[in-house]
Symmetry: C2
Subunit: 328 residues, 2 copies
């Protein structure tokens, strides 16, 4: 099934069930008011929501209306956890190569993961508001899963069963703040402002056979200023599957329902597939011609992130955002 969150002026919005073709929606009235509440009691809620989803797809749901992604918040407008991996190690290797830094061999078998801020996500079509272009504003196109409760020490073979939903992410990054911040040794902080998510979160079964081995085997499309710049296949070159990332996350602690785990910037070794963040394009330029050419995002620039199924239909709806200057 497909779920979304309607802007209603409240902090957590209103849970919507959305039709498979993303054309209609209805409020999950009398079931769960918010997505977090549904996740908190998933085994009880999911069958009811799924039944409503079937009625909606069959044109038999009461009080359905046209689905409008611009009226959506992030599926989880605020979450209790956002942990972002870096599974496409090719991307990490490229970025490091561009600055002549070797990559430790351990990066191929021990996942990189950072804890992100999760209190204030932005909606799929909300502006990316920033005070300064000098910060090096970049997008990062990723896939994320939302989990149920996962116990500390979970084994890889048991981790997949805790995956409830999948989404797309724009993990906005401030490239020019990263070097100084990482040099301090405590990881990303100011360099990772609020992330945005696709209008719709979907259960794994919606992906059909594109969901296997804990990976999504479809191209992730990124368009910068309306030009397609990347379409790497998210199932290719993903060194750590989502179950592996969840296992990494839970080595020393539980993860509770509503935890979001990101894949990291999707990247294929085949450079013809383009890029899912400007930093990677700049790394390739650095390696090829000795200096980066493509600028980071400026005020007014736009980014669209989307994933289509085998029939060309959008699965999650599109993230479509503009970068806007903060005033006041």
């Amino acid at each position: 099934m497909k779920l979304a969150t309607l802007k209603d002026g409240s902090r957590d919005g209103q849970l919507l069930v959305v039709s498979r073709d993303l054309k209609t929606a209805c409020i999950a009235d009398g079931m769960a008011p918010t997505l977090q509440r549904a996740l908190d009691d998933w085994n009880f809620m999911a069958p009811q929501l799924d039944e409503l989803y079937a009625r909606l797809n069959g044109g038999r749901a009461a009080n359905s209306f046209d689905f409008d992604a611009s009226k959506c918040m992030a599926p989880l407008p605020r979450a209790f956890q956002w942990a972002d991996g870096s599974s496409y190690v090719n991307h990490v290797e490229l970025v490091r190569k561009a600055r002549s830094a070797d990559m430790p061999d351990s990066f191929w078998h021990d996942p990189l993961m950072y804890q992100g801020g999760s209190d204030d996500f932005i909606g799929p079509q909300d502006d990316i508001v920033m005070a300064s272009e000098e910060w090096g504003i970049d997008f990062e196109s990723e896939i994320a899963v939302i989990t149920g409760d996962v116990p500390m020490g979970v084994k890889v073979q048991n981790a997949a069963e805790h995956i409830r939903l999948l989404m797309l992410v724009n993990d906005v990054s401030l490239r020019n703040l990263i070097p100084a911040e990482l040099a301090k040794g405590f990881g990303f902080f100011q360099s990772k402002p609020a992330s945005s998510f696709s209008p719709v979160a979907v259960t794994p079964d919606e992906l059909g056979d594109a969901w296997k081995e804990g990976k999504v085997h479809l191209p992730l499309r990124s368009s910068l200023n309306n030009m397609l710049v990347g379409q790497p296949n998210a199932g290719v070159d993903m060194v750590f599957s989502f179950p592996q990332l969840i296992t990494h996350l839970c080595k020393t602690r539980n993860a509770r329902a509503g935890t979001i785990v990101g894949s990291g910037t999707v990247s294929n070794k085949d450079a013809a597939k383009g890029y899912s963040c400007i930093a990677e394009k700049r790394a390739l330029e650095m390696i090829a011609v000795g200096e980066p050419v493509t600028p980071y995002m400026k005020f007014g620039d736009s980014i669209k992130i989307e994933m289509l199924d085998k029939n060309g239909k959008s699965i999650f709806g599109a993230i479509e955002q503009s970068v806007v200057e903060q005033h006041g």
Copy 2:
């Protein structure tokens, strides 16, 4: 006023108003069911809760009962943000000196802060459950504030007004996992398991004149296995005040209601004040005798963290935890 969260089997528990002397409590019935809900609508809720607090202190509250910290969850059992600073730069300098690493001068004017996991906090008297002693289990005694909504780019002089509540924290750390994790460059992750918090969160006015310039001017007492090992004054050698930490947090993003901001391990330059984490004690031993002597915590060890007012009364109640081996 003083607020706590009662274990009731639910994920967020039941909001309690607790008397100033920590002897009685009552359920904030008909007001806010949970602390997060109170924080979400603080201007509306706080006066009502404060009125109940006055009645409770005067022995005039209906349905009050004996307050029992062992039945408490963390005041926010799960939070949308936990951002921990490192304001006692003395502590950072000592730990680095012990491993013969210079500290960049920037650490004195640019706060260190990391994003912590916030989805699964442990209660003030809950066990610290860990799979292995080999991870180097340590406590870290800290102070934290809970904020309301804070806008991106907030100025230091405006940050204090967003502080709603204060708590004590045990920021449990796994010392032997830290070096390899920090070497990866993405900051703490597995080395920072679930944190625990004091039974009670208090509004700043409860601290009287001990709350000034965005710092708490009282000793923070840590007892390891029932022996007092530290009582540094949290108002001394705190290089970055809470308003400064909040400003750092909000440089590139908003912080939303219920954000928890930590002070970092409390530490005084005066070594006679003892220590608020074993790592600091070991650093002092390393500097003095060339090797660390004090071991990290073993299964069965206990830690108590408390702050007393000028009259010797506990302000927040005590964090009192034992380290326990995970089974299964």
